[in-house]
């Protein structure tokens, strides 16, 4: 449009210079051009969404993100290139934090103004909700002009349940403990995909798939210290770390001890490899090599498996517990540092980073599910293994998130370690569950 106006001004000025246009005609022409431009601009502004860039953007944006896949930074650079087509004067810097120290790395950085945009996980959301270090995006997200966009993001109810402020735009939701199942071995064991419908069927299948010295039926306890693994069973047994009113522990229940016993039994029977046999990085290779018939891990494992596996495999959820079926997952967000000087720019950047196309691109390359309903139409599933898309409806059903208290992640880390002590025979399931309850009381300060 700028070029068109420029051409028209040039034509007017040339006509005036060549005496084809009087001074009065030249001035009138410029006036008309100005008026019409102003009119067009005002009409266009009416159609421009309030969240869209109102001006040419300029500045430097510093990201602190989690290492979802080996190509994490490359994926962000790819999105940045697309952003620079629209706004060439914006530059980017991407840094990775480590999962084990994410909370403190983010905390220290946001306090010191070290970065502008943070990839944060849901486990820290309750803590951030209580603070003021992240920008409150409630007004921007709830702006009527953003309503159509907002409707395309998932899990707003869950996000809004943490408190009155909306601090981020969701980017993904992640299943923390899925079963990577070698279906060839399941068939050999005389089962089909329905073996996960009951715990007894599940254990029978695992036992039949176990071949001493060759294959273990199920690899558990290898997911980054067991993150979310036992917790999923706790919830399926009707327990939780705290009661819904967050006033009392809700761990030491007979059904919780029962599911813990069931898990410990897998080790006692030798159908799960002893803890320490496979680490988080080595386990997917063991699954691909057929040494584990089933691997229990988070979905990021899909990014390191070979594209072509020598057997048919599926992603399946855990069997139901004595009380209910539970599929634990957590949401990942982009949040903005409240100290960043150009909040408009940061909003533009995070809304671009989480738009349909970019969310689809990032999730597709990170082995996780996008937090947008329009991601499939925007190319999600073109790079990720097809098993992810196939399992999506299974994981969406009975989806459960974490509980709304700031110490959740601390409790989870300590509790899973305590439960693993019972898997190694150092404590009984009852003792381990009782210890988890003590951890809850101590860490929450009840």
């Amino acid at each position: 449009m700028n070029q068109r106006i420029h051409r028209q001004i040039s034509a007017l000025s040339e006509a005036h210079h060549e005496a084809r246009l009087s001074r009065r005609g030249f001035v009138m022409g410029l006036l008309q051009l100005g008026l019409s431009t102003a009119a067009v601009a005002s009409i266009a502004a009416g159609f421009r969404p309030a969240y869209a860039a109102a001006k040419s953007l300029k500045g430097h944006v510093r990201f602190l993100v989690g290492p979802w896949s080996e190509g994490e930074v490359a994926h962000h650079k790819h999105i940045a290139e697309a952003f620079n087509v629209l706004h060439p004067d914006v530059t980017f810097d991407f840094r990775l934090y480590q999962w084990g120290t994410a909370a403190q790395e983010i905390g220290a950085s946001v306090a010191g103004g070290g970065h502008d945009i943070y990839m944060t996980t849901e486990s820290s959301y309750p803590d951030y909700q209580a603070g003021t270090r992240f920008a409150d995006l409630t007004a921007r997200i709830n702006d009527p002009a953003f309503a159509a966009e907002k409707a395309k993001y998932l899990y707003w109810e869950r996000t809004e349940s943490y408190g009155p402020k909306l601090l981020g735009l969701p980017i993904s939701w992640h299943v923390e403990d899925a079963l990577f199942v070698n279906m060839d071995k399941v068939k050999e064991a005389g089962h089909d995909a329905s073996f996960i419908d009951s715990w007894d069927g599940f254990v029978d299948c695992i036992a039949k798939m176990t071949k001493e010295g060759e294959t273990y039926g199920l690899g558990i306890g290898i997911q980054l210290g067991g993150y979310g693994e036992w917790y999923q069973r706790l919830r399926s047994a009707g327990g939780s770390y705290l009661t819904p009113d967050l006033k009392k522990p809700n761990v030491n229940l007979p059904d919780v001890v029962k599911v813990t016993e069931q898990m410990a039994d897998l080790f006692k029977r030798g159908i799960a490899p002893p803890l320490g046999t496979y680490g988080y990085d080595a386990a997917p290779a063991a699954f691909a090599a057929g040494k584990l018939a089933i691997l229990s891990s988070d979905l990021a494992g899909t990014t390191v498996l070979p594209k072509k596996m020598p057997f048919d495999w599926k992603l399946l959820p855990y069997p139901p517990g004595p009380v209910s079926q539970v599929n634990f997952n957590d949401v990942t967000y982009y949040m903005v540092n409240a100290k960043s000087p150009d909040q408009d720019l940061m909003w533009e950047v995070i809304s671009f980073w989480t738009n349909g196309a970019n969310d689809a691109y990032w999730a597709d390359n990170s082995g996780t599910y996008p937090a947008r309903i329009d991601a499939p139409q925007n190319g999600y599933g073109t790079n990720a293994v097809p098993q992810l898309a196939e399992a999506l409806p299974l994981f969406e059903k009975h989806a459960v998130g974490l509980e709304n208290f700031p110490q959740w992640a601390t409790v989870e880390g300590l509790a899973e370690a305590e439960i693993q002590n019972c898997y190694t025979g150092k404590s009984t399931p009852a003792e381990a569950v009782a210890n988890v309850e003590k951890i809850v009381i101590h860490e929450v300060g009840l």
Partner: protein, 318 residues
């Protein structure tokens, strides 16, 4: 007795005779200059000492009396963090693991280092190559060492199980709950034995030769020379090594983090690992982490004092 300028012999022509006050002033200035220069040379080290040791320790004391996070708001809670320490689930496991680790690694390191040192001291040609090879693991950072051992202990293709299979045995889960702490201790021995070996070599080379010649003439066997000459003569340096190696042993962390992440369960969770967990892996627990750190500092201090006391007693009040 002061010098009187009036009775002093005349100075050679062209040289200035100084009044006593002037002389005193000049020597005072000279002394001052020397002092300032000395402090200037000391200042960088002193500054580093204050910034990297004194201030963090004072900071730890301050944090230990507060609740909250590293980057968030904190509030004074008095001694609550210390009082609550015994209630922490897994605290006893962390203390036990740390002590067991030190009990395995420290004797192995020192006995191994002494044995290697005795061998190295006898090598006359090519000794520097052997010394370099022995010292090499010391140069490997803890994280890299742990990654190397992660491969060596792999159940399916690791070196250790390769040897076990070669000998006809069943593969061992080296990083399982039963062996992980021992593996960590052996890794520590591998990393540190070279350091102390060189330390001991230097000491052995400095021992008086004439005593050994006399012992040989008296017909003392090699073991007797070791028992009655080498060990008593090296007692001071061995005692020093025991104290320092124990302090280091109680601070094990980096290899536990990389190799086992404190697990399986709490099988390799050490005290420092627990501090790290509260400092960086938990929300708003810096006060607890600081309290544990202070308790560890005091424990190490007391242990060192006890060791020194015992060792001094053996040296006969020396």
């Amino acid at each position: 007795m002061g010098l009187d300028a009036r009775v002093m012999p005349a100075a050679p022509s062209g040289r200035l005779r100084l009044a006593p006050e002037e002389h005193r002033r000049l020597s005072r200035n000279r002394r001052l200059k020397r002092e300032v220069l000395g402090w200037a040379f000391l200042a960088p080290m002193f500054l580093c000492f204050v910034i990297f040791l004194v201030l963090p320790v004072l900071g730890t004391v301050w944090w230990s009396l507060r609740s909250g996070g590293l980057a968030g708001d904190t509030k004074f809670v008095g001694l609550k963090n210390f009082i609550d320490l015994p209630d922490i689930v897994g605290a006893s496991a962390a203390v036990t693991n740390t002590l067991v680790f030190a009990l395995i690694s420290v004797p192995l390191i020192l006995v191994g280092a002494l044995a290697i040192a005795l061998l190295l001291a006898r090598i006359e040609r090519g000794g520097s190559i052997y010394r370099f090879l022995i010292y090499f693991p010391v140069l490997v950072p803890g994280v890299v060492a742990a990654l190397i051992w992660l491969f060596m202990t792999n159940v399916d293709f690791g070196l250790f199980n390769g040897v076990v299979r070669g000998l006809g045995g069943k593969p061992v889960v080296w990083l399982g709950a039963d062996h992980a702490l021992t593996v960590l201790a052996i890794l520590d021995v591998w990393r540190n034995v070279g350091y102390w070996a060189l330390f001991f070599v230097a000491a052995i080379i400095g021992l008086p030769k004439e005593l050994y010649q006399a012992a040989e003439l008296d017909g003392a066997s090699a073991f007797a020379r070791l028992r009655y000459l080498t060990l008593p003569l090296m007692r001071r340096i061995i005692f020093f090594a025991v104290v320092v190696a124990t302090i280091w042993g109680l601070q094990v962390f980096d290899t536990a983090l990389v190799l086992t992440s404190g697990g399986p369960g709490t099988a390799t969770t050490t005290v420092i690992y627990r501090v790290w967990l509260y400092m960086f892996g938990a929300t708003n627990k810096i006060g607890v982490a600081s309290a544990i750190s202070l308790v560890l500092i005091v424990t190490i201090l007391l242990l060192t004092l006890v060791q020194m006391r015992l060792l001094r007693g053996r040296r006969g009040g020396d």
